[in-house]
């Protein structure tokens, strides 16, 4: 297994197919596996350096870990599980206990024993437990896979807040949409090595990363700035390099910056400006790059340039032919605003 990448604060998303080595990689970062060769550096501190025979044991790393299989302590109730790391971490900063249990919706579970929880409940407790230990870095291995979409939507903004508090996160997920607005950087793994790594808007708009393509979740991630709020319709207008967009009402001050995912499949192209449609957001641009044609796959990806940003669009080859798209063709991209914050 080979992997070299850097992540400077913020959220780094780790993508890759089942068995591609994501868990193995974060185990190395967390200190649960000793790499044969390699170095791990956090905040300038050398955690692992096989050449210098340095290996900081996990308990001195202050790296929180939300495991794929939750690993709650069966001998403790939920409250004691949550407080396990809290007591060990010195200091009083960080997120409060009440905030965490409120947000994760586990207040009614506090006195329960770990064994009786449902799959999703276990995972939420595990997230809370890792957060409360005041980690310097948070490793999350598919933390939301067992959760329903609504619960996911509740927890994601919370993770966003963590990122804004300055806790870097290394986040394993199969769903680009899940980390779209969260991640600053993306690392894509394939067969134990890094296939692509870089800033999220760069990597996510790449048409050549098979793992992203096969994820059917390809999309572009845009940096946006809050422009105005419209509480009546519960919308917020943001400005991106690609143009202005409406998104569901945000609790952010005007001027705040954020990231949004525009999924390739949520964009409809047309040659003429659409009229009288339910698509609130229409961006003008031109085709910049055509993806590869895959036998048996009716779809293709196209990269647009709208203003100063790229958008990825997935459409059928048939539409492509009917619209006669080529690099340079001017198009209008209609984006359903509801898709922005999925």
């Amino acid at each position: 297994m080979e992997a070299a990448f850097e992540a400077e604060g913020g959220v780094t998303a780790l993508f890759g197919r089942s068995g591609s080595g994501k868990t193995t990689l974060i185990n190395v970062v967390g200190g649960l596996l000793r790499p044969e060769r390699g170095r791990v550096v956090l905040d300038g501190e050398m955690l692992v350096d096989t050449e210098a025979r340095r290996f900081v044991p996990p308990h001195r790393r202050r790296i929180g870990y939300v495991f794929q299989e939750s690993r709650l302590f069966p001998h403790l109730d939920v409250r004691a599980n949550l407080l396990f790391g809290r007591r060990l971490a010195r200091g009083t900063d960080g997120i409060s206990f009440d905030d965490v249990v409120d947000l994760l919706g586990i207040v009614p579970l506090l006195a329960r024993h770990a064994a009786g929880l449902s799959g999703g409940e276990r995972q939420r407790v595990a997230i809370g437990r890792a957060l409360l230990a005041r980690p310097r870095l948070l490793l999350m291995d598919e933390p939301l896979a067992a959760l329903d979409v609504a619960r996911k939507a509740e927890i994601l903004p919370f993770l966003e807040r963590l990122r804004d508090l300055g806790i870097p996160i290394l986040y394993v997920s199969h769903a680009l949409s899940e980390v779209g607005r969260l991640a600053d950087r993306i690392v894509v793994m394939e067969d134990g090595h890094v296939a692509a790594a870089g800033p999220v808007d760069e990597v996510s708009a790449r048409l050549d990363v098979a793992a992203l393509r096969s994820a059917r979740e390809a999309g572009a991630i845009l940096t946006a700035r809050v422009e105005a709020h419209d509480p009546g319709f519960a919308l917020t207008q943001v400005v991106t390099e690609a143009g202005p967009l409406y998104v569901p009402l945000l609790e952010r001050p005007v001027g705040a910056s954020l990231r949004i995912l525009v999924s390739a499949r949520d964009v409809t192209l047309s040659l003429y400006p659409p009229k009288g449609t339910s698509a609130l957001n229409v961006l003008a641009g031109h085709v910049a790059e055509m993806g590869a044609e895959v036998a048996g796959d009716p779809t293709m990806e196209v990269r647009l340039v709208c203003g100063g940003a790229s958008l990825v669009v997935r459409l059928t080859r048939r539409s492509l032919a009917e619209m006669d798209l080529h690099p340079g063709t001017s198009v209008y991209a209609a984006v359903k605003s509801v898709a922005l914050l999925d």
Binding site: G30, G31, L32, P57, P58, H59, R60, R61, R62, I63, G64, Y65, F67, E69, R71, F73, P74, H75, L76, F84, G85, L88, A89, H113, A115, G116, R129, A130, A133
Partner: protein
């Protein structure tokens, strides 16, 4: 009560309880330590340590008692040295407790080791990522998880201590009020004409005491199991 036991027999009962409890409790910390080493570590001489722990089981108790006498008697190798710092085993109840601890040790260690080996190490890893150092991991995760093994081991050791006489009588003799435990008293009674009735009476008492200890341990274990599984 006092009617059906002579003062000497009362003394033997009291002494047996003291000896069994002391021997069991005193052997717990080293038992846990050694069980942990045997379950988790690889080191030179591990087989040797394993063997030494099992020795009291393999040897006839009389031989164990004799070896204890040679080692920890007043003139023994360690005995003479320990006597200088004020620890005397020979012909004291402390010696009986030592004998019981030694005889019960393999049983205790095996139970503990089996439990430690069954602990899911991923839980210990999780504790480490939460900032627990190895000692804290052991105390706050491993130990609570092996409580059923601790209880089982202590019951075995205690029961063994209540029945042990071969090593005890050989090591510290059979002095009423001093080193005469219940099983030694029972043994003596089996050696004299007409002693059977007395032996049976004392045996019953010994059974009742152990039964009580066993029941208590089962209740404890059930509580622990409920905490672990419910």
């Amino acid at each position: 009560m006092t009617d059906w036991l002579t003062p000497d027999e009362w003394a033997a009962l009291r002494l047996s309880l003291l000896v069994a409890a002391t021997g069991t409790l005193a052997s717990l910390p080293p038992g846990i330590g050694i069980a942990y080493l045997l379950a988790r570590r690889r080191f030179w001489g591990k087989s040797m340590l394993d063997m030494v722990v099992h020795l009291p089981l393999v040897l006839p108790p009389v031989v164990t008692g004799y070896l204890l006498l040679l080692g920890f008697g007043r003139r023994g190798l360690f005995g003479a040295w320990l006597a200088e710092i004020g620890i005397v085993f020979s012909f004291r109840w402390t010696g009986a407790a030592l004998a019981c601890a030694v005889m019960g040790f393999p049983l205790l260690v095996r139970a503990l080791r089996l439990s430690i080996e069954a602990v899911d190490r991923r839980l210990e890893q999780a504790a480490a990522t939460l900032g627990a150092n190895p000692l804290q991991v052991f105390v706050r995760v491993t130990l609570p998880l092996i409580l059923p093994g601790v209880i089982a081991g202590m019951v075995l050791a205690f029961a063994k201590a209540m029945g042990e006489f071969g090593a005890t009588i050989t090591f510290v003799s059979n002095i009423p009020g001093e080193t005469q435990t219940l099983p030694s008293a029972i043994y003596t009674l089996t050696q004299i004409p007409g002693g059977e009735a007395g032996a049976m009476r004392l045996t019953l008492i010994s059974i009742i005491v152990s039964m009580a200890a066993l029941l208590m341990s089962e209740l404890l274990a059930r509580g622990v199991a409920r905490r672990l599984a419910a």
